[in-house]
């Protein structure tokens, strides 16, 4: 979204339309495809809700053969890149429409076309990418996230972007916690040093740096400016060791988030002990589980997230056990923010979960439904399939926010409705379920019945949780408390 005056230098075929943003009137909007990097997954076209009123098959964005458009669209793309980004302090992020104006700092990954994981990472990078530190478990996200010598994690024009590193499968949560502890120590030391330089850099600046709320994007932008001023004023103290320490640490005075990212193979299985430990530690880390329900990048092996009735490697006859409820385990602590999301079902709920998780001053866990090539269906329909998963009650959307306990509100919010279609209406769109029907129909039916029962039981548990005000602060049932 940009000033229409900038269109005077636009290539002839560059497209734009009037932007409808109350906060920023008089602007124009362009959705531009990178023609030479588009993988053709068509997810964006499927997701686009805007249909031509005279020809409903035509949307605001459409698939079309690339060769005829390659050169002209490549020129359009170049021009598009020259346009300024929207000022992050000029809009609130709490709507999908606004959030999508933010510059993505995750782009052109090496993921499969139509991958269900990457949209979550893109959103996360848009919201917090310029002040995030990411610990990435081994798995798909470490492969497409670090397809060296390139990386999809990038920087904005200020040179800010996520700091990303990949550790082992079995220690990623600890890896991220280490980042958090280091960061906390650096912040502590910087804050300790600051008062010593009140006379050199000014009392007002020191006070402002120490007391800045840093909640909103405007707060953060203001703190960044203070840090710039601080650095300028410290430059003159080159002979002072402590001043040099503060200079090197000054950037940590801007609030940063630690994101611990990985798949279900990491979170449910191999890294679970560490993940549990880190979540239980109470430290302020954000965990994003990109849940494909199998070990995807090694070829679809069963994990504890693999659902009953699905076929996977090591579960070739269809898994005959419920998937582990990682979210419920985390909720049982009572002080961990937990959300279960599926962007294809509710992008708004997904956005809210990210914003709340990041804002929560403690551990947070987001479990994100991620459709996958290992599910065996046309990933163009990935978002639709996510919607069906939620409609079937298989993947209920919820947020457990401990901050609400203090407000006397139920911490657990169910964001989706109860099952409205049978499980098989969702499951049998996918080869991982259907192939069992085609190889052992009786067993497939037996497992599907049991899986359907799992859905009803799970819903009942969540429904009751949503009626409970708190977990861990119930009234004394014995009446013996003094």
């Amino acid at each position: 979204m940009y000033d229409p005056a900038l269109l005077k230098d636009a290539p002839e075929t560059f497209k734009s339309t009037g932007a409808r943003f109350r906060e920023l009137p008089g602007q124009v909007l362009t959705i531009q495809v990178a023609p030479e990097d588009c993988t053709g997954c068509a997810l964006c076209v499927e997701a686009c809700p805007a249909k031509d009123k005279s020809q409903v098959g035509r949307k605001a964005i459409n698939m079309t053969p690339q060769p005829a458009l390659r050169e002209s669209e490549a020129a359009n793309w170049e021009f598009f890149l020259s346009l300024p980004e929207v000022d992050r302090t000029s809009i609130a992020f709490n709507s999908i429409k606004n959030s999508q104006l933010l510059e993505p700092l995750f782009e052109f990954s090496g993921a499969c076309a139509g991958c269900g994981e990457t949209p979550y990472l893109k959103l996360m990078s848009q919201l917090f990418g310029d002040r995030s530190i990411i610990a990435n478990a081994t798995g798909c996200s470490s492969i497409y996230g670090g397809n060296l010598p390139t990386t999809p994690w990038t920087m904005n024009s200020d040179g800010r972007g996520p700091a990303w590193a990949n550790s082992l499968f079995e220690d990623n949560a600890e890896f991220g916690l280490g980042m958090r502890l280091c960061l906390d120590k650096q912040v502590e030391y910087a804050r300790e040093l600051l008062p010593h330089f009140s006379s050199e850099v000014g009392d007002t600046l020191v006070d402002a740096l120490l007391t800045a709320p840093q909640k909103s994007e405007t707060d953060i932008a203001a703190q960044r400016e203070r840090v710039v001023t601080l650095k300028e004023r410290l430059q003159g103290l080159s002979g002072n060791t402590r001043a040099q320490d503060l200079l090197s640490l000054a950037d940590v005075l801007v609030r940063k988030g630690v994101w611990i990212v990985g798949g279900d193979g990491w979170a449910y299985d191999i890294g679970f002990g560490g993940l549990d430990h880190v979540l239980a530690s109470g430290h302020n880390v954000n965990v994003l589980v990109l849940d494909t329900e199998v070990y995807s990048n090694t070829g679809g092996q069963s994990s504890k997230a693999t659902p009953r009735a699905a076929v996977a490697k090591f579960a070739a006859r269809g898994k005959d056990m419920k998937r582990k409820d990682l979210g419920l385990i985390a909720i049982s602590y009572g002080y961990i923010y937990v959300a279960r999301i599926a962007m294809g079902s509710s992008d708004v709920q997904t956005l809210n979960a990210f914003l709340e998780a990041e804002a929560y001053n403690g551990p947070s866990l987001i479990i994100a439904y991620s459709h996958c090539i290992a599910h065996g269906f046309n990933l163009r329909k990935g978002l639709e399939q996510q919607k069906l998963a939620v409609q079937a009650g298989y993947w209920p959307l919820y947020r457990y926010n401990p901050d609400r306990i203090a407000e006397g509100k139920p911490a657990f919010i169910l964001d989706s409705k109860g099952p409205s279609i049978s499980l098989d209406k969702y499951a049998y769109n996918e080869t991982r379920y259907r192939m069992l029907l085609q190889s052992d129909e009786a067993r497939a039916e037996m497992l599907m019945r049991a899986a359907q029962e799992d859905v009803y039981q799970q819903w009942e548990v969540y429904r009751r949780l949503a009626q409970t005000t708190t977990i861990g602060t119930a009234t004394d049932p014995t009446g013996l408390a003094v």
Partner: protein, 360 residues
Amino acid sequence: MDLTTTYLGLQLKNPLVASASTFTKKTDQAKRLEEAGLSAIVMHSLFEEQIIHESLELDHFLSHGTETFAEALTYLPDIGTYSIGPDAYIEQLAEVKQAVSIPVIGSLNGVSTGGWIHFAKEMEQAGADALELNIYFVPVDLEITSSQLEDAYIKLVSDIRQQISIPIAVKLSPFFTALPHFANRLVEAGANGLVFFNRFYQPDFDLEELEVYPNIMLSTPYEMRLPLRWIALLYGRINTDFALTSGIHSAEDAIKAMMAGAKVAMMTSALLRNGIQTAAEILEDMRIWLEEHEYESIQQMQGSMSQQAVAEPSAFERANYMKVLSSFGDGREMPHTAISSRIIHRTLSSSADDDPFWSS
């Protein structure tokens, strides 16, 4: 009361037959159909598209994307043996046949000749007592003429006739310009029976999503009027067995089908809506009706209200709007043939307003 009838050379204990539906996907439900008194079962359909598509689809998704990343040579375990499409169908047909003592009719749904039609033979080998060939093709191609389309249907029936020796019934759509002529050709090509008429998925619009979605609604009794008319018109003129399907919801409906000339009345919607046991109630109602009206048997009434048997044969040939218009007639009713020729004349010349017959 003698409710027996014959259909495609099969001796049936009564004229109520279960039409093709998902009931037969479960053997226990097929048994319940028999227990409810239905005299024969038409299996759910094996689709030409299904035969070709399922195998290609499974192969596609088992290998899709496996070339992209060295660490994952495949994404799903290959179980090796699959019972897809036709194999599963044939197995199910054999199982149903074993489980029930009433005739079981296989159902093959397609339009083109080709390799897939050998499944007709497999159905015969699996024990099918007859085959119902369900032909429906939406001819969207501007170059396809009605005669080309009809020729293709006839070729398909002839080809399948050569493959199998069990009786063949052809289930048709009502959308043929000259249905009697075409129906006759089908019989000459080897069809032993004609099932009137098929019901199809029809597109509907979702106004919120602006999307087209095909679906099918359960039938209503009114829908039997169309097959009732055509069976009544063709009974006795084409030497074949007619089955009436669509809209059979009560004993009265089934009795009307018999009187028009059908050998059997087929039903599914009423069983889905009210339960399989509805069939038993309908049979009992039929028995009572026949007794109350002093019929000796079903066969006695078959064709008794066909065009050839009724006092006013022209009633079957009038279109509904003609009845509406002529009801204003104040003694101006014209003989049937004159009205028909007027219609043809009007269609070929100009609008009704210009026609001296309508305006005078």
